[in-house]
Symmetry: C2
Subunit: 469 residues, 2 copies
């Protein structure tokens, strides 16, 4: 985090004080920038601030821990988290299935509340003399002309618009980024947003409910059903934050479940365990907002040497690989490295950042889309389960050479596209090995058959050659 | 165009008086609506209005002619057009290749200037007592609440914003539709825009230049080159409107050709014929704007029973299948049919419209993307040429049962996805026939070989069976 300060670029404005924005602000301050961090919401460090309704509890893995480590926050945040050793799949016909996240003791994930992680990052940013925080400050627009870039923020109760000058602007304002819209306005920018037909809603399982039946607090709990999915992350107070994933429209769906009796009926038939664990379930269900799930792909991620996008603003993904936050924090590491490598050419650093990063987050978007079906179905297909068992076994036998895709994504910092490439090579090896094993078996069978009766004990030897006179 | 008026929905506002918007306004007036047609540009019927710089000359085919026929404009517009019997490919190494658009005399396209077609439609709309026209009236926003929908338009020199009430709103305001943005705001709307790395620029080949060398005025002229593409449509005054397609960035590109000498050099080496045909080429090139090419895919196309999108606002495509305008006018026919089928359920009509139409325009977007490479390469690959010749021959032999994809798209009103399906069936038939022909040939060869020497005259019969004692 130390390095030469950037010549000619002194003031940085970061829009969005979420996870990536706050980490990036700390990193830019470490590079000598005078950083202003603007956030349209209230300060989450104040206990009376309402929580982020969109929140899905987070599973930190290697990438997030590495990124936090670069600013010395790894241990602080680990102390706020709950280790999860694997997934506990609660099957429809009863009986649980345990799926460890890896084969070694350190291949685990850490559950953390978004707000706790954000607060830790904000405390670190606030303590840095190079960072100034501005809450309830809503980005309104910017002028892309010559430097300095002039941004406009609406502030205070009356929404007075104030101009702010910057040499460098970071758009970290999420999937529906206003900075992105302003930056790409009038440009040949590719953009796509795609919503999942399913949304999500948070439900709370209090600590008291987790006692009987005793729920393992060092696991992610998953209740996969054809018509819905519940995932629950453990919290440090012994409670669980459950997220229900359900279709927006149709039957059953968020649209169809609008009364206490329909909600009770749905959980009673589909998720009776959840009904038993969540107190006043219909009231919770009906009072809490529904979240949307969206994939955003876009390019470019930057404008000349002035504006750059990170996190969801550049690449929002579905949450089913548990990597959205990990990828957002990793963006900060890569962007910081690029700025470090070309301190005098910020435009070149931005171009390098997009070149190094975009193909990997594109792959993550694909993997996150594909994992939706996998998660919802709870890996019920025999093929998937066999594949998973083979992966685990081969990884135990050849820990260096055989690493399952999930392990590469979650327990290493191997870039996503490289991880996928390695997994595909392993797939081909497995297919070849299976073919070779089949050929060897066939050869052995043939040899045994050729040697005459008796060699295949217990088997009837078919008459292969009909004798003719 | 006659039919019951829609109960409870009396005022329609159409935003965008381009081709689709104006045709839809006429159709809605025919259904009894009081129609307001708003356009942010000036009235193109006045000769002093500057032309539409984005314009690519249009090739009208069966779909556009059918749509214009429903409001009695077919013959009016045909009189403004130039028939094109096929494409004349001007090859790099000299020599032209003629590709007729079809096999029968009526399988031709009609070149028309966008402005002439638009003017004819506007004259018909202005003559209809149910349509009122508003030029220089820019759509600013709308309130999606309960009926009536309140739209806001900025009008006059001072841009005074005026509210306009409507029961039904049609967004026909192009690829970057402001109506679409307002309609989809806050909704789970899928959206994607993708720019081609190539743009375009119009150049004029005057009538005088077409005399020597004599250019066939009943053809589309195509100069395909690896680094650029020129397409020229004939005009009624004997001139040609040429469109240069070229990369935006790189070498050569619109970015690299910024001086008279670089422009002259580029045309001299890549398009010497064009250099000879276009007077003051560098000046024309440097003074005219570059156009962008974008594919837009989105859903939904409508909001409840109030707002609906047509044309480029719903589905912008690249121009390389020559179907963008044809598809836009066809939208009007399909939407009019849907409104006719459920006059009392406008929301149902909109849903039916999207259901009937979107899968077809999605296919058109794919075909238009794929055709870029085909056009640029001038069908130079042997496979493509053989395929095209086989298609034409089979179409001549079995005119009812074998119809090439291009014919289905351009000379019929078969919906695009159905056309593609039929073409794929034909592909399979051709592959099977080729395999069968191969098998027959192989069988004949085998039989001839088996019958002993002499049956395959001039061939050496290989010794297939070695005799053993």
């Amino acid at each position: 985090m130390t390095g030469p300060s950037l010549s000619g670029a002194r003031t940085a404005v970061v829009v969005g004080a979420g996870l990536a924005g706050t980490l990036m602000a700390i990193m830019l301050a470490g590079r000598g920038f005078a950083v202003r961090l603007h956030e349209q919401r209230a300060d989450p460090r104040h206990e009376d601030t309402p929580g982020d309704d969109r929140s899905i509890n987070l599973g930190m893995s290697a990438r997030a821990l590495y990124a936090l480590g670069t600013v010395g926050l790894r241990d602080t945040v680990l102390a706020l988290s709950v280790p999860m050793r694997g997934r506990l799949i609660h099957r429809e016909r009863g009986g649980d299935r345990w799926q460890p996240y890896g084969v070694t003791p350190d291949e685990i994930l850490y559950a953390v509340r978004r707000r706790d992680l954000n607060t830790a990052l904000l405390a670190r940013a606030a303590a840095h003399p190079g960072v100034r925080l501005f809450f309830r400050s809503r980005f309104v627009g910017l002028a892309k002309g010559p430097k300095p870039i002039v941004l406009r923020f609406a502030e205070g109760r009356d929404g007075t618009v104030r101009p702010v000058e910057a040499d460098l602007v970071v758009g970290a304002d999420g999937a529906f980024s206003a900075v992105r819209r302003a930056m790409q306005h009038g440009e040949r920018a590719d953009y796509s947003q795609q919503f999942l037909a399913w949304g999500h809603k948070e439900l709370t399982i209090p600590a008291s409910a987790c006692v009987t039946p005793r729920l393992d607090l060092n696991a992610l709990h998953v209740w996969p059903r054809p018509s819905g999915l519940v995932v629950a992350h453990p919290n440090r107070d012994g409670s669980l934050t459950a997220t229900l994933f359900l279709a927006h429209e149709g039957e059953p769906s968020f649209s169809s479940l609008t009364t206490s009796s329909t909600v009770r009926q749905f959980f009673g038939s589909t998720f009776p365990e959840i009904e038993a664990l969540v107190p006043e379930l219909p009231a919770q269900f009906l009072s809490r907002p529904n979240g949307q799930l969206v994939t955003v792909r876009t390019r470019p991620w930057y404008h000349r040497d002035g504006i750059v996008l990170i996190g969801d603003a550049a690449h929002a993904v579905y949450p089913f690989y548990g990597q959205g936050m990990n990828a957002a924090l990793e963006d900060c590491v890569v962007l910081d490295q690029c700025l470090s490598a070309s301190p005098r050419d910020v435009g070149g650093a931005f171009a390098h950042f997009q070149w190094r990063r975009k193909r990997h987050t594109d792959v993550l978007a694909d993997l996150s889309e594909q994992n939706f079906a996998e998660f919802r179905d709870g890996m019920r297909t025999v093929g998937r389960l066999l594949r998973w068992r083979a992966d685990i076994t081969l990884n135990r036998l050849f820990p260096e050479r055989w690493v399952p895709l999930y392990t590469l994504v979650s327990h290493t910092t191997t870039p996503y596209a490289d991880a996928l490439l390695q997994a595909r090579r392993q797939d081909r090896t497995m297919a070849l090995a299976a073919a070779a094993a089949g050929a060897v078996a066939a050869g052995a069978t043939w040899a045994a058959l050729s040697r005459g009766p008796g060699t295949l004990s217990g088997c009837h030897r078919p008459s292969l050659h009909r004798r003719t006179r």
